[in-house]
Symmetry: D2
Subunit: 373 residues, 4 copies
């Protein structure tokens, strides 16, 4: 029942979100959300706007004295770049964007499409995701994201632990946990910038500490992987989503594709591998949830692609709006938020409860049940 | 507003589905649905059950004299293998299945989890998808699927047209459009069978004839790619979903990653490439929608994996239930159905209407609007 | 997340329902459901069909060995009167029915509208409601319904207790708890029959044993009274829904309109009156939920009303289909089912949990919390 | 698919709403919304706050140059009375309010419950309803509301036309269309004020110009009366909802309870009566939709009711917060908004379309279809 709506245009006065269904009693302050927003804004390869504008969200409802009350949480973010009323109309749709299909669908001038389709909207997804992260953290769960590929540069196959990744990305300007790969990525970005080109890439989100049994196999809309896939694929520019071995499952034989089951007193049931990415039968299985998403290169190019003027139908170069070279680090933060929301939603469904203390009591009851299963 | 629920267990008496929200006036008979069910059952690499049991669905409501009435469509499929009451309990969860997480979550014996989690349920997804396909076909749209990888065997990169694929898969026992690749795939399956192993793979679904503007950029739950991703990822054993260039976007530079826009009188706006897989900004852009999904190898192995007896907690080999070696061809048919449903749902939303004739009138109005845009 | 769909036509082969979201571990057998269906079929004033046809539902999924498994519950009811294919078309819409608006909306012949709009569909609402009743009974809650008015005959204002009502209606052929009123109602029905007329009336549903805090004030779609109102108003022929004092609130001054709050050790917070009908601020307040609904008279009259032939547009008398004189007793059973579903849904949301034992554990935790509040 | 969320507390900094799913191309400015907000604030019998604080909503997204764009519409209303952080806690729950059940459910102090449960929230329902009204007005539909009872004073049974009501309420300080009744109502309110008492009442909402076929009989959640009932019943303090004859159906015999069907060239199908309140079989039938709702008296009394201090559990008088005597006129405006939203939602579903011009084209097509039916 956890749900949210966002609104706001890229250069409008405000962005807003309403997050409905959070339990009461969760400590929450805007600085936590703003830290996440800052994470989204950073990243080598971003254009000018990002550097000048630091987002600050205001919690305008659903919180009293620093704790949620159970009422809908309103988040308000003032755009410093509030120029929508004076921006010129656009007539040359950019390939790779919502511009053309949106203008045709809504019978709108391209500007009004672009203002909503812009990745600026993801600020509110990060903000709501931050609240979700706060919630899941109360249950001992945590999320981390890191960039695993930009252009032709991939990180080594060597897996790092959740904590290592969390530690390493702190000092990375690309949210990358491998310093050598990061250097190569920076180089690739510099090269792309020189060529007035852009770069896409792949990031990974890991959710640790989720108990087995979130999501369900009984109905397709309850499957946790399906929900996370929707959430991630709906992030601007995301074109691929994979769990665990993902694409590589195609060439992995069955006897190497699954995670054998073990048991000991201390850990209960456990696995020695995590090829499934923590999800079996549409449910969390207790292992880390590991999901990767691939982002296409920014579609607004310094050297614009060919397009058509929608008034004259004559060939023209596409409009040029903004100048990020690579936004994969930002996308990784957004993807983390998108996952956090789905985990929080699944937890609210599984554990019910209207207050954090009730939800925790139900959660502890479930953990005890698991221990005796 | 188009929605459905399915129910039924793998060895229960019936599988059922209720599809709610279809317009009236659509010609529909069970033979069309049964043909799709047959497509799902075929495929080299399937176990014994598939060969003996031909599914027949009965349309038990929502149709009068061969046409839908607007009322919910009830689909009933009698299981020939109705043995659920006499099947033994299971105690050794199979890695890669819902068995363990499901048993823990629902406090159920493994049998009752497996009976619902089984891919048998996908028969009803194919059945509802078949109805959806009938609907979208009325609007000139069509779907085709084909297997592009099994194990290490991939089809050539050379793209085939929608019609070529549709033609070629007709004579393929693997729903594969490339005869040489098919032979190699068959060989790989034979080898896996010999080794008591299983194989996964990748299939592609193509939707042709969808107008620009299905889905929307305005709200994340309206994005067509997000919805299709959820629908596909929620199919049993699917672990990756990609649109267009998909994973390869990571290493494709921006100037080669998008589809430039052209216009001529006859075609209106058009593209010469389709890297986006037909979706930009969460909307169909008028090009073919191209989506690929990767299936993990069947988790029930002839040479069972290590597991634990849930009663004694002692190490045991996993239970063995059934013996498909490779179900990627079946998955491709199911994936096609899953996509068909989402296309139909998006069309019902976009064009409204309660009768097929009203929906078509609205559709034609939109096409005319597009022509004058 | 508890949800259901129904399908089936009045004279079709089957009626079906799929109930999705029930916890595992609930004892359930078809005889319990069939008893409720029988309650729906009884009642003085019904036509011929009711007396000959005893409904039997088969639980075709979601249950194993007499207990739910968490999987969707499929309910199948075979219509003994399966004549839909041979029934003649209809051309004279009946005032007060879906006939005309439905035929215009769906471009359908009246028969296909009537077959779905018919109150026959309520059999499946009773069946799903019966499962819901089973669930809520596990939490100490119970429902009872009784007829409080038919035509001009009302029951005395004297309130009976939940148990008294439950006891008294057992021997009533009108589901009425007041024998004298029942006799007068029977007389009124006999008179109406003689006049080829029909009668409406009002029934009351009481839900006992619901803890405070089902539903919520925070969002309009979470309000329990709003949900129950939708559920009841969507039952065929229901035209008014009231909680507690209902319409009489209009003329009750504030100081007599609310339920003062008291407290003692044994009972915790309690009230000495129940004007609110157990709901304050969109939430259960711990008192009995008391809701009344008014049903219009059956719209198919022995002496048909004026209508129009839809082919010729000439004035004609309306088609005549069936011959109940008064269905308020049946409606009261249906209303009880509709309420039971909403209570069960609210409980599933509030207490979460996938198994009955988990849900009960969460429930007990909440009760303990209440005791210490 | 039209949906909205609201957030905000009674004495918080802002109230907000996000309305998602509106078509593009609808002229919209805040003055129209503010006029509706003003209507909500007026009314003899209101307390001090109402008179000092004039609400002004700002449209912060989803509109460009005075027209909707299809993007979510954000509405922001600054509370002049932003004191929430300094307001004292409350410990004596008011009977008739969410106070006690809410505090128990959410483990919250009463203040945080009351701040959200307060009717202040309805400002945003009126704001979103105003946008909905703008939409339906484009299709020739309109809404009017009027107060029909306050305390023991009812308006005469003599029905007025839609236009007459609209005209008469303009000059009424009680949104009442009958001047003599209004005078008596004012007198009743004055008397109640003197007695430190409060008054409830009943209002009626009429929707004119809705074509037949909104809503549907096929599925209970599609029934238009069920949806309107939910929407109205979820408005603060509403306890009864009735369509057409409503409660009086109970004593109206069948031959006087329905609306016979006529036809002529000019009007098509029509009725000479409107007992059904414009809805048959869960669908609009083309006649005015007429729905009445009853509001209980304000639960905050000048002479407080008995309650309990939640800290000590000792008997105490209830907290006193605010001092309206009668808010039925305001409720009628809110009810109008609640209905407008449901009509708009049903229209969006029925006519589809992303732009107003597309929706109108589809609408015209349907009207032409009706004319030829």
């Amino acid at each position: 029942m956890l749900q949210y709506l966002t609104c706001g245009e890229s250069h409008g006065k405000y962005l807003m979100a309403i997050l409905e269904g959070m339990p009461s009693g969760l400590k929450l302050d805007s600085s936590y959300i703003n830290d996440e927003l800052l994470r989204r804004q950073r990243g080598y390869g971003r254009g000018e706007r990002m550097s000048i504008e630091e987002d600050h969200v205001e919690i305008i409802s659903g919180c009293l004295k620093g704790e949620t009350t159970g009422a809908p949480i309103g988040l308000l973010l003032e755009n410093k770049n509030f120029t929508i009323d004076s921006l010129p109309p656009l007539f040359r749709p950019r390939p790779g964007h919502a511009d053309l299909a949106g203008a045709l669908k809504y019978r709108e001038e391209i500007r009004s499409i672009l203002e909503r389709a812009s990745a600026r909207e993801t600020a509110m997804r990060v903000a709501t995701g931050a609240v979700a992260k706060r919630l899941v953290s109360e249950f001992g769960a945590g999320l981390v994201s890191h960039v695993v590929q930009i252009g032709h540069v991939s990180v080594p196959k060597k897996p790092l632990s959740f904590d290592e990744i969390g530690e390493k990305v702190k000092t990375s300007i690309l949210n990358c946990a491998f310093p050598q790969a990061e250097r190569d990525m920076i180089h690739a970005i510099d090269l792309a910038r020189k060529r007035k080109d852009t770069l896409g890439g792949t990031f990974e989100v890991i959710v640790r500490g989720v108990p087995p049994g979130l999501g369900s196999h009984v109905h397709y809309l309850r499957k946790l992987d399906g929900r996370i896939a929707q959430s991630l694929m709906s992030v601007q520019a995301i074109k691929a989503v994979e769990f665990g071995l993902g694409r590589d499952y195609a060439e992995t034989p069955g006897h190497l594709a699954h995670d054998e089951i073990f048991y000991n007193r201390t850990r209960g049931y456990f696995r020695k591998s995590n090829r499934a990415g923590g999800i079996e039968g549409g449910m969390s299985n207790g292992a880390d949830i590991v999901v990767r998403a691939t982002m296409k290169p920014i579609a607004t190019l310094g050297k614009p692609l060919r397009s058509v003027d929608v008034r004259t139908k004559r060939p023209m170069l596409a409009d040029f709006e903004r100048a990020d070279i690579c936004a994969v680090p930002a996308a990784s933060v957004i993807g983390e938020a998108a996952c956090a929301f789905e985990i929080a939603r699944a937890m609210c469904e599984k554990f019910g409860g209207d207050s954090l203390s009730e939800m925790k009591r139900n959660f502890r009851g479930y953990l005890a049940q698991l221990r005796h299963s």
